[in-house]
């Protein structure tokens, strides 16, 4: 367990990106500078309802400005209330949480879908800074939901799949399969945001022999290992402490 804290955050920007997806920038004086790739925060911008904070994996930690950038999809009462906070609103944050995921060897394959891709970008940036090559495979319902597509392109080859344009019947991991056949064997693949993509990667990992992790989600209460509510699999692993990324074979 690594140190974490509680911040009184300030909303700097909170705007709609697509139908039900929003982009939030929040100043978190203590949490943002301490955050590492793979980590997440718990946030609440409300009082009694809903009761629990919500887990969010920032797409960017701006350590100098102490700002976290978050994409979120409105799916229930917590994200709905979040979407109504204007600049200047206060948010309670807990973090940084979870086990950092800073790759040591390369190359890296990053596979993600929709809002779920957010934790992949900090990992890609850390990897490139360490000189580790990165290839990304991203899919989304619509083009605007290929979040930060430009930034991913800057960091390495990017394959994309947009359901609206490319049809629902292919997976972006089919490009990964072609790359694997072409000789690109990653030291590690990291999946986020899609069980279907994770399934396919698990198959490819077995076939081509590489390690794979996946970001997983379960309802969380504390986010810090106290409540034991986020256990997954047969080993009693806690997503909030041992994850949020865990070996693919443990979570599928």
């Amino acid at each position: 367990m690594s140190p974490w804290t509680e911040d009184e955050g300030t909303v700097l920007n909170n705007c709609r990106v697509d139908r039900d997806v929003f982009f939030l920038e929040v100043r978190a004086p203590n949490i943002a500078p301490a955050s590492q790739p793979g980590q997440f925060v718990m946030l609440s911008g409300w009082d009694v309802h809903p009761l629990l904070p919500r887990a969010m994996a920032p797409i960017r930690f701006d350590t100098e400005r102490a700002v976290l950038a978050i994409y979120y999809r409105v799916v229930g009462p917590g994200t709905e209330r979040l979407s109504r906070l204007g600049p200047g609103s206060r948010l309670r944050l807990i973090g940084p949480l979870g086990t950092p995921l800073v790759p040591q060897h390369g190359p890296l394959a990053l596979i993600g879908r929709g809002v779920g891709i957010t934790p992949l970008l900090p990992i890609a940036e850390a990897a490139v800074q360490l000189g580790i090559p990165v290839r990304s495979y991203l899919s989304a319902r619509t083009r605007p939901l290929l979040l930060e597509e430009r930034r991913f392109v800057e960091l390495g080859p990017l394959a994309t799949h947009v359901a609206e344009l490319d049809g629902p019947h292919t997976l972006v991991t089919e490009q990964l399969a072609r790359d694997l056949e072409g000789g690109f064997i990653p030291a590690m693949a990291i999946v986020a945001g899609s069980g279907r993509l994770a399934q396919h990667v698990l198959m490819l990992a077995a076939q081509f022999g590489f390690r794979a992790q996946s970001f997983v989600e379960e309802k969380m209460a504390c986010g810090v290992g106290y409540c034991k509510g986020c256990a997954i699999g047969n080993h009693g692993r806690l997503i909030c402490l041992d994850g949020p990324a865990l070996p693919l074979e443990e979570v599928l």
Binding site: M1, S2, P3, W4, T5, E6, S44, V48, H49, P50, L51, L52, P53, R92, I94, E218, K219, M220, A221, C222, G223, V224, G225, Y226, C227, K228, G229, C230, A231, I232, G236
Partner: protein, 304 residues
């Protein structure tokens, strides 16, 4: 300055009356968190069991209006493993330490109580009496005989203060508090979670892996408060109030209803520093009201 917040629970001195509820908070000696454990009235880690057990299957949490249902069960390393790591984790704990134990028979309570009483850091043993009995499916906290037997067994195994944690799932709670007292408990803790359930209507099935669980959080505060009031009105056993406490006002309600101290559980999840806020708030309240010590407000609520 004298410590206005210093208090006693059945004769046991505590620096203040605010402590975590078992299963919702823990202490890691090397990890800095927003909770300064040295300022807590006491620390109570999650209940431990005699034998290792994994806890309940996922999903373990469901959110309800102002409430949280959990079906964690008690994932526990078992007594032996707990003993092995005790010194390294709790050896230097900077506040009074209470260990919560959960048994499946009177003998298990006795073994756990005896073992945990040996450490000098431990100032009291809390009996979590909410493990379903394997034969009757009732919890000791629900049945007079099971309750008496569990508390008596633990009593015989220690000279340290013994707290019996009661369940709200009883017809009337005051008689259960009296039974625990008669059986040797120095104090009772009220309340544990309330049996509850949530259903996912899309999937047409229970949300929790164990299908029912226990409700905690602000939703249950008025229920816990009435139970503490009943125990204070009808028995002489000191009571530690628990259930839905989130703010200093909530803590004051419990103290005024007759609680000697309070435990904070679910509120810690959204606001880890909640216990710090409550301790500061109590101190400010006493100062503002010119009240010399916390004991002066315990049980002062008039009927109406």
């Amino acid at each position: 300055m004298a410590n206005r917040l210093a208090c006693h629970v059945a004769g046991l001195p505590l620096p203040n009356p605010v402590m975590p509820a078992s299963g919702t908070f823990d202490y890691h000696p090397d990890v800095r968190t927003p909770v300064d454990v040295a300022r807590l009235g006491a620390l109570i880690p999650k209940s431990i069991t005699l034998h290792p057990q994994p806890g309940n299957p996922p999903s373990r949490l469901a959110e309800t209006p102002a409430g949280l249902i959990n079906s964690i069960g008690i994932p526990s390393p078992g007594l032996a493993a707990f003993q092995d790591k005790f010194r390294s984790v709790y050896g230097g704990v900077p506040c009074p330490l209470v260990i919560s134990v959960a048994g499946y028979s009177p003998d298990e309570y006795a073994q756990l109580t005896q073992a945990c009483s040996r450490w000098p850091e431990v100032v009291a043993i809390e009996l979590n009496l909410s493990c379903p009995n394997l034969k009757t499916h009732l919890m000791p906290a629900q049945d007079p005989i099971l309750l008496r037997d569990a508390v008596q067994a633990a009593r015989a195994a220690t000279v340290k203060p013994l707290w019996a944690k009661l369940s709200p799932n009883v017809t009337t709670i005051a008689p259960m508090a009296a039974i625990a007292h008669d059986a040797g408990a120095d104090a009772v803790v009220a309340i544990n979670t309330i049996r509850a359930m949530a259903i996912n209507i899309e999937r047409q099935k229970a949300i929790l892996g164990h299908f029912t669980g226990g409700l905690s959080g602000p939703a249950i505060l008025p229920i816990g408060l009435s139970m503490v009031w009943d125990i204070a009105q009808h028995t002489s056993v000191p009571v530690i109030g628990c259930g839905g406490i989130r703010t200093v006002d909530d803590a004051l309600m419990y103290l005024m209803a007759g609680a000697s101290a309070v435990q904070v559980g679910t509120a810690t999840f959204a606001h880890p520093a909640a216990m710090m806020d409550i301790i500061n708030g109590l101190d400010r309240y006493l100062a503002d009201q010119g009240i010399a010590q916390i004991a002066d407000i315990i049980g002062i609520a008039k009927p109406a």
